[in-house]
């Protein structure tokens, strides 16, 4: 989606400059803002196709900007976080941001995330989801990996369903817990990481080197198609 209009929000001029140059080079139409207020104003005048948002802004927290934007804007939001802002990062994701990259990041990684975010549509409602060799049939409650049937417990199936319907999208722990265990999640939710490692044992060719079910450190999990992720 070249030519897309991208709003970049960061208060550090040198980062803004570097991002602007690289994004323009990649064919995007770039607009910049240095504060949360500027960003909201700019987005209102010229609705962006995507937003790249630094979490630490001089006036408001990045998560506040996410919440405000999400009231009327569905464009994907990519947040920039630094080591140490993990909680703020999760707050922004829970407030509606779609993905994040950790500073310092490579341009390749940023562009790949941006492309993926722009491409990603609403959660899939297809009855059968195919991700790489993984095939999830929501109606029959059946899962196969490369044609081989895999038996899952009801919780494992629910977890896989939610991840698969949001293929490629980062799902925070809270989103997963709320979806799989209901709004008043508790009890078994402590075992999310354990459920994930069991799911990997059943689905991944090599559970210690996950290719489908990826950890997003400190934030959540993401289900991807292996080839797309490795290219």
């Amino acid at each position: 989606m070249s030519g897309a209009h991208v709003l970049v929000v960061d208060d550090e001029p040198q980062i803004l400059r570097a991002l602007q140059t690289n994004l323009r080079g990649a064919g995007y139409d770039v607009e910049t803002a240095a504060t949360g207020e500027e960003a909201l104003a700019a987005a209102a005048v010229h609705p962006p196709d995507a937003v790249i948002l630094d979490l630490v802004l001089p006036d408001v927290h990045g998560s506040e900007v996410c919440r405000e934007l999400r009231q009327w804007c569905t464009a994907p939001i990519l947040v920039l976080s630094a080591v140490g802002d993990e909680q703020e990062k999760v707050a922004a994701l829970d407030a509606g941001a779609d993905d994040y990259v950790t500073k310092p990041f490579g341009v390749d990684e940023l562009l790949a995330r941006l492309r993926a975010a722009l491409r990603r549509a609403a959660p899939s409602t297809e009855p059968v989801l195919e991700i790489g060799d993984l095939r999830v049939d929501l109606e029959k409650h059946s899962v196969t990996v490369a044609g081989r049937r895999v038996a899952l417990t009801p919780n494992e199936f629910e977890l896989l369903r939610f991840l698969a319907q949001n293929e490629g999208k980062l799902l925070t722990h809270r989103m997963i817990l709320r979806e799989v265990w209901g709004p008043a999640y508790g009890g078994e939710s402590h075992y999310l990481h354990v459920y994930v490692s069991q799911l990997r044992r059943k689905l991944e060719p090599d559970p210690a080197r996950p290719r489908y079910l990826l950890t997003e450190p400190g934030a959540g999990y993401r289900l991807v198609a292996p080839l797309a992720a490795r290219s």
């Binding site: 080591v83 310092p104 402590h190 990481h193 354990v194 990997r200 559970p207 210690a208 080197r209």
Partner: protein, 465 residues
Amino acid sequence: MQLDLGRNKDTTRALAVVSSIGAVALVTAAIFALRGSVPVLSLGVLYLFAVLPVAVVFGLPYAVGVSIASMIAFNYFFLPPIHNLALRDSANWFALAVYLVTAVVVSDLAARSRRRTAEAEQREREAAFLADVAATLLEAEYVQECLNDVAERIAELLGMKRARIELESLRRPDKGEAAVDLQLGPRRVGRLFFSADETPNPDSTQRVLPALASILAVAFERERLSRAAVEAESLRRSDAMKTALLRAVSHDLRSPLTAIRAAGEGLGREDLQFDAADRALLVETITGEAARLERLVSNLIDLSRLEAGAARPRPELWTADGLVARAIETIGSDADRIEIALPGDPVAAMVDGAQIERVLVNLIENALKFSSTTDPIEISAEGDGRELLIRVRDHGPGIDPREAARIFEPFEHGTGSTGTGLGLAIASGFAHANGGRVWAEAAEGGGTVFTLALPAASVPAEVRA
């Protein structure tokens, strides 16, 4: 035998009266039984068996009462005229008088000895209490934390239900509360507060409180000194830390910066001629050195957070699989050299996933650094019920046992190593923060094996499925 001082006084009195009457009745019955075979007058002395226990258990006043009561009973039941308090024979008057005097004298002696025993026992308890309190207080890290326990015990010792000790307190007693000072010479160490309706045993109070005051004063002083020593030590450490940090920063930050600047300026100059390969090399220098700076900075941040005690773990239940997978995902392309053996049954630990990821990544990076690019790194995990053990083994030059502990100190590295020597210190720091430990030893058949041990946690069966 000693009566419980804490017991209600009315109950004690009632018990004394009932026991006294019972004792007289019992001896009377005995004399009644014996009077056929022994001259009755000589049996009067048996009443001493009633008087003595009462004297020992309840004290002199009751013993005197029992003496008089038994004299009357003897007269009434056994001395002619029987069932009458009058006496026919004047010799009997004399016998009764002798008996009474004997009874009172013996009771007094018995009561005295009882008091003395009781006092000796009380002193023994006081001495034991003081010895114990001294040991507790002088060992304790914080005197304040032991005070409730000490107060509870001193309340018991002084015959009160409860008391509290306030150190260096000038608080006046509240309503319904009384207080005595814990005084050491002119200095008031603290105050002992108790309920106003209770009276502490005065003798014990006089003996124990000055001793307690001096123990408290010494313990307090010791605590202050040891705190000062800890502060001095941590200052010294942080000083050593700063020096090492400065050295690391000046060297390890400068060299990549120099390379980046040289490459960047070179690329920017129009008078220099580069072919495509040169240009690519310069660009690679910039990105590679920037990545090196990034690693160094994140290590320095980790280390300073650990040193500042700011790296508080957020524990969640993680399986060995999950922890190893996180580390492998982070390592990236070098992970192809790693061989992984996971346990058949999932083993888990309650740890901070991000911090344990740092531990494993640093151990793996260390292993990668110390072995040739053709040698595999082996990672294995197992649980022994008590601990979850994750091992990282390389086929490098191995480790000198003398260096095995030192390499986990910040800014230390084994012989022949380059680098800042931060990775293993951080690994060890995060392992400890999560209740675990890391150690290194020579591997069988060459190379080094690093072991991370974490306290194991169980995975409920319903989750395991």
